[in-house]
């Protein structure tokens, strides 16, 4: 029989071993799934994990990994800081949308002026938009003790409606013959966020993601505020004795994660996406939750987790096109990753005891 026994202290080995084991288990279970679909499991796994980095078209796909990973990392770092403190912002998708809408509005308001200040102003607008949207659940929580999980999640749907309104109404391209969608940022130099080196896939959002990872690491390891965040999550009572103000921490963590999500939104809309459209958001805000946990809520871990997640997207697309895999199978595969991660995570805090007979 099996029994779970709580460890006196979390296992350091499993804390870092979990993601690796989860990835391996996902490959095995995914392989079985692909085999059941009549595909060669080894070919599929190789297409997903190997080809984008080392295959024939890696010169193009490596850059695409950065395009895909950038927003995931940026959002996940903000979320992780909150999660560390026990503050559950589930609505990053909404903050991402509002950041994009406000940032894009700033840029389009200046159209067709060419000035080097437009893009920085858009970035500020994006961060502000995300921050603003996150302040709603933050203030409702600190003032009325509402549940930030529900409020932030519900606000995603409100944000989607605002996005649809923006694309068909106040941001619609006046020269677009009535079609929804804003002006294209790629043809408006001052407001566009192109690749920094052609073909590299790296735009300012990717740079921001990497810089943020380093700053967040320093914050957590070297700064008083980081200590307070960790303490609030691990021992809320002790934190209070230590002089941590819970309300201020909620406002700080929600605001920061919102601002980072908003930044991801403005970099995406001015870069890879190119315009505000009705379905501009592609779920980065939700996938970032997986990335945050996959990266152990650690900023450096999140960078790797973001790249890995991007790999399953880019590789999954390759597998879908070249091997005729249904898109649903790729989504199941990504879901497995979180499933196994959470499953194996039990081993960090518990150990398994085998014993015979009844107890």
């Amino acid at each position: 029989m099996l029994k779970l026994e709580k460890r006196p202290t979390p296992s350091t080995f499993w804390q870092y071993g979990t993601p690796v084991v989860a990835v391996l288990l996902t490959m095995v279970a995914g392989g079985l799934l692909f085999a059941a679909l009549g595909k060669d499991p080894f070919a599929v796994i190789r297409t997903i994990f190997w080809d984008p980095v080392f295959g024939e078209f890696a010169f193009y796909l490596r850059g695409q990994l950065l395009v895909k990973a950038g927003p995931l990392i940026l959002i996940a770092i903000g979320l992780a800081l909150g999660f560390r403190a026990g503050i559950w912002n589930i609505g990053a998708e909404g903050q991402y949308i509002i950041g994009a809408v406000i940032g894009a509005s700033v840029g389009l308001a200046a159209y067709p002026t060419e000035s080097r200040w437009i893009f920085p102003a858009m970035i500020l607008g994006g961060a502000f938009g995300g921050w603003l949207w996150a302040m709603i659940p933050a203030i409702l929580k600190t003032r009325f003790n509402t549940n930030e999980i529900l409020v932030s999640l519900m606000l995603v749907y409100v944000a989607e409606t605002i996005l649809a309104k923006a694309a068909t109404g106040f941001l619609r391209n006046p020269d677009g013959a009535g079609f929804p969608g804003s002006r294209s940022f790629s043809s408006y130099k001052a407001a566009s966020n192109p690749e920094i080196f052609a073909g590299s896939g790296l735009h300012w959002g990717g740079v921001a993601a990497l810089v943020t990872a380093v700053l967040a690491y320093i914050l957590l390891e070297r700064h008083r505020l980081g200590f307070q965040i960790k303490l609030a999550g691990q021992a809320p009572r002790a934190a209070r004795f230590h002089g941590v103000n819970p309300a201020r921490l909620v406002v700080f963590c929600m605001g920061l994660s919102g601002a980072l999500a908003g930044l991801a939104g403005i970099f995406e809309v001015s870069g890879p996406a190119g315009q505000i459209s009705i379905d501009f958001n592609q779920g980065y805000g939700f996938t970032a939750i997986i990335v945050a946990f996959l990266g152990r809520l650690n900023p450096i871990g999140i960078v790797f987790a973001g790249l890995l997640m991007a790999l399953t997207y880019v590789g999954g697309e390759m597998a879908a096109t070249n091997l005729g895999l249904p898109s649903a199978a790729v989504q199941v595969f990504q879901g497995m990753l979180l499933f196994f991660l959470l499953g194996v995570d039990v081993l960090t805090n518990y150990r398994i005891r085998f014993f015979w007979g009844m107890k």
């Binding site: 010169f59 109404g169 013959a177 009535g178 929804p180 190119g274 592609q282 880019v314 096109t321 005729g324």
Partner: protein, 363 residues
């Protein structure tokens, strides 16, 4: 020059301007690739495109090889999928949703020797980009005729997806046809802001039925509105959208507008094989078979069925145009004068309701 350096040089901005005419020599074998916005299992829009792909395989046999990808989000992801397809040797790529418009043109710029065919869009920025669409509004005229004749409450409904010209022209055609046979008819429109979301579509249908609407047309792709209509025990009817939706025959689905892309796909790939391929802006309708009117069932009274068939046949023969003047805009200003038919340009950029429709297009 291999594909790799081709892309690299294009990306460096050296830009190769080889025209699409490079295909004039013809080919022995064509790899045709398809990008779908939804899952093939949607039973509607994407399903019909995939039926077109299968028809292409069947018609051209081993001269053609096909590949496809489902559920590709519009935007940056589409651009990557298109680039992957072009890199992996597709000769012609069909991008089957409006939202792929910019991605299609951007990638086409980098691969001048790959032909791109974009469905329902209007941008052809490079010689290797063609656009194709079908005159679905012709099907709406048939549906509107039925709706106007059978409604008892004089309230008919339309589930809109997004307020884009494609959908607005469908709403206008539906209303004009209904009003022609029943001047008292009133139209209500609900915007679902989705192409495919069974729950949202069912809610929209439910809301209309509760308001007394007894004919529900849909511009969304799932069968959920028909399922709602079926619950009323024959009081409410609807129409198959994009695919036949035959499971709901003979009622509530009394007829359907079927997207039949096969003939177009075969024609284009054949042209590529023959070396006669040229950039086009194709917009065909009932006459050439791209828009197919599904069986009009006997659940309708015989006179209604006969009237609907007459409209269908007159559109096919060219005797009837869905938008024939006099037609005023909603604000009362004149759009078409007596006997004038709508120019395609007006339809493709349509952003107004015709006179008589209540409510506003979301702005």
């Amino acid at each position: 020059m291999n594909r790799r350096t081709l892309l690299a040089s294009a990306a460096l901005g050296l830009g190769l301007t080889l025209a699409g005419g490079a295909q004039a020599a013809g080919m022995d074998h064509v790899k045709a690739c398809f990008v779908y916005v939804g899952p093939i299992g949607d039973g509607g829009y994407t399903y019909q495109h995939d039926q077109g792909r299968l028809a292409l395989e069947k018609a051209l046999g081993d001269k053609v090889e096909t590949a496809y990808q489902e559920s590709v989000p519009e935007g940056a992801d589409a651009e990557r999928v298109l680039t992957q397809m072009a890199l992996s040797g597709c000769n012609i790529i069909f991008t089957t949703s409006f939202g792929y418009m910019d991605a299609t043109n951007n990638v086409a710029a980098k691969f001048p020797n790959v032909m791109f065919e974009h469905a329902t869009g209007y941008k052809r920025e490079h010689p290797n980009v063609s656009t194709y669409n079908a005159r679905f509004y012709e099907g709406r005229t048939v549906q509107g005729t039925i709706a106007g004749m059978v409604t008892k409450s004089n309230k008919i409904g339309y589930i809109g997806s997004f307020p884009i010209p494609e959908v607005i022209m469908g709403i206008n055609a539906y209303y004009l046809a209904a009003k022609k046979v029943n001047p008292d008819v009133e139209l209500s429109v609900i915007w679902a802001y989705t192409w495919f979301d069974p729950a949202k579509e069912a809610d929209a249908a439910k809301a209309m039925i509760e308001q007394g609407v007894d004919v529900v047309a849909q511009h969304t792709d799932s069968t959920a509105p028909l399922a709602e209509a079926a619950k009323t025990g024959g009081k409410v009817i609807g129409f198959g959208q994009a695919s036949d939706m035959a499971a709901y025959k003979p009622t509530p689905r009394v007829t359907s507008t079927i997207d039949n892309w096969g003939p177009y796909y075969i024609k284009r790939v054949q042209a590529l094989l023959d070396g006669t391929y040229e950039q086009v802006d194709s917009w065909e309708g009932i006459a050439s078979g791209e828009v197919e009117i599904g069986e009009i069932t006997d659940a309708l009274p015989p006179d209604v069925k006969a009237a609907a068939e007459k409209v269908r046949d007159e559109i096919a023969s060219g005797a009837l145009h869905s938008f024939t003047g006099p037609i005023n805009k909603q604000d009362g200003s004149v759009w078409l004068t007596e006997g004038q038919t709508a120019p395609d340009g007006d339809l493709l950029s349509m952003n107004f309701y015709v006179e008589g429709i209540k409510g506003d297009i979301p702005q």
